[in-house]
């Protein structure tokens, strides 16, 4: 092989590798501008997430070519992501506080918080104070509150959960959830663990209660949507959609869809309390 041939082959090989490399790097550097304009990212509360998913699916059926990507992470994560611009719409299951109130927000629905126990548990109802005493560690055994003897396995959501924040402000008041409480980071996980453990107690979205767990009466009031609406069952919190600035374009269209009678009816059918629709 002649030296010039070898050299040019070498050169060719290197240019190939090098250009591959360069193009990869430039892809990485092309931030921001290549984001698909027909995408809306919705992220945050795991309580709102399944409902946002249903809305998204319906919206995408009506508007093919548009992509609504729904993410979890928790209310605090959603608020943070909205503030940093990582997400177009943030989801929160608690009210905004402090500096967060500079975000644009709209309440898309309300949902109750259900205190759940295992179906095998004899206890069917408690008072708010009793629940608070369980969660801050004062009450440790079921036989102290009318159940069969057994340790109370306390489950709570993680710190950044909107459901937890709402629970803390509505139920705990001044006391703190004890450090010994076991932490899970979604409604589904708490529901699953409570349904497995006869001695467990937890709290989840009222709209997610199914027949694998039992929702406790609070102060004699049955946890039902009707009772949340008429105000007798007062453990409820707002589901919020948040944006950094007042929404425009596709984001606005999706939020408008959510607040429209059609969107609200979807949410109502899923078990939520909807300001924009009642049968």
């Amino acid at each position: 092989m002649r030296k010039s041939d070898a050299k040019s082959r070498l050169f060719f090989r290197f240019s190939l590798i090098f250009s591959l490399f360069l193009s990869l790097f430039s892809i990485i550097l092309l931030t921001g501008c290549a984001r698909n304009p027909d995408t809306v990212v919705v992220a945050g509360s795991t309580s709102v997430q399944p409902f946002a998913e249903v809305l998204a699916q319906e919206y995408m059926t009506l508007h093919p070519g548009v992509s609504i990507d729904v993410q979890g992470g928790g209310s605090a994560a959603g608020i943070m992501a909205t503030q940093s611009g990582t997400t177009d719409i943030g989801m929160s299951s608690r009210n905004l506080q402090g500096s967060e109130t500079s975000l644009w927000s709209i309440e898309i629905a309300r949902d109750g918080i259900a205190i759940i126990v295992n179906p095998k548990n004899q206890v069917t109802g408690l008072t708010l104070q009793q629940v608070a005493d369980i969660y801050d560690g004062k009450t440790t055994n079921w036989d102290q509150i009318g159940g069969k003897k057994g340790e109370i396995d306390v489950f709570t959501r993680e710190d950044g959960s909107g459901t937890r924040s709402s629970f803390e402000s509505l139920v705990m008041g001044p006391s703190q959830i004890m450090a010994r409480a076991m932490v899970e980071n979604s409604n589904g996980a708490i529901r699953q663990l409570v349904s497995d453990d006869p001695g467990a107690i937890g709290y989840i979205s009222l709209g997610l209660v199914d027949n694998t767990v039992r929702a406790l009466d609070l102060g004699g009031i049955v946890p039902s949507r009707a009772n949340v609406v008429n105000g007798t069952y007062n453990l409820s919190r707002p589901f919020l959609f948040l944006t950094l600035k007042p929404p425009t374009g596709l984001v606005k269209d999706f939020i408008d869809f959510t607040m429209s009678p059609q969107g609200q009816q979807i949410l109502y059918a899923q078990g939520l309390i909807t300001p924009g629709y009642s049968p």
Binding site: L24, S67, Q71, T86, N187, G188
Partner: protein, 280 residues
């Protein structure tokens, strides 16, 4: 008082214990694998493999998760392999053994051992938020690339270093240039080791969960570009399983994951054996 046992008796007892331990390990392996495969495979239908999940994953299939897994792994490997193997070559062939190289080697070793969650944290803050790539295949793939880079550097470097110096000397004595030596002698000899590192990296990408959720997101849709968020099979399984959304689908996903890992392992072994056999 020390009881002197017949050495034969001790040996028999020891043998029993050892066989028991081995059988225990095999039992565990089979139990776990067969549990997931038996519960999962019945639910794997062509529909399951080609539809996207709906209703949070309770219905529908996992096609988007399969694509997500492939995409993320591909990005990670494409970025990490040239960087890793190239660095390994540089360290072994172009630099002298010194304090600096020792430090680099130790750092690569340590970074390979950092829990993946720390990489996830880094990836979330650097790629997703700071570089504004958002939850995307790009963010996830780059994070995974960074995660497997130390491993690839380490295994490649070791593979290249253990090529007998004689190979190099023979090549040079025959008039070969450094580049020719590298491509025609070193790479083929070191290939099994390098390939092992890459396969390990692939395995890690497929199995990784926490870092992926935080960088590639957990959207259910079929990803359309590098900037789309995507779910991987492992993430999908985790969400289905931990939230109790659908145990059937969770098992099916796990079964697919296990089969995938099996195929990767078998493929890797075949590849390595073929190269080793060819060299003979």
């Amino acid at each position: 008082m020390h009881i002197r046992m017949n050495p034969e008796t001790t040996q028999t007892i020891a043998k029993v214990v050892i066989w028991a331990a081995a059988l225990l390990v095999l039992l565990l392996l089979f139990t776990i694998m067969i549990y997931f495969l038996s519960k999962g495979i019945p639910h794997i239908t062509w529909q399951f493999l080609t539809e996207i999940p709906s209703d949070m994953g309770k219905t529908g299939g996992i096609s988007s998760a399969i694509v997500g897994t492939l995409a993320l792994t591909l990005v990670a490997i494409v970025v990490a392999t040239p960087l890793g193997v190239g660095t390994a070559f540089y360290l072994t062939e172009y630099t002298r053994e010194s304090g600096v190289t020792k430090v680099i080697r130790f750092s690569a070793e340590s970074l390979a051992g950092i829990p993946s969650i720390v990489y996830g944290l880094f990836g979330f803050i650097f790629f997703v938020t700071y570089l504004k790539l958002g939850w995307s295949i790009l963010s996830g793939g780059l994070t995974l690339a960074v995660m497997i880079l130390p491993t690839i550097i380490r295994t490649s470097e070791e593979a290249i270093r253990t090529v007998p110096p004689m190979y190099r000397e023979v090549s040079f004595s025959l008039g070969g240039t450094k580049w020719q030596t590298m491509t025609k002698v070193l790479i083929p000899s070191a290939l099994p080791g390098i390939a092992t590192g890459i396969i390990l990296g692939i395995g890690r990408c497929v199995a990784e969960t926490a870092a992926v959720i935080l960088t590639a997101g957990s959207a259910l849709q079929m990803p359309t570009s590098l900037f789309s968020p995507a779910r991987t099979l492992a993430v999908h399984f985790y969400i289905l399983a931990s939230e109790g959304i659908s145990l059937d689908n969770a098992f099916a996903t796990a079964a697919i994951l296990i089969i995938l890992i099996l195929l990767i392992n078998i493929g890797a072994n075949l590849l390595v054996n073929r190269f080793v056999a060819k060299r003979r």
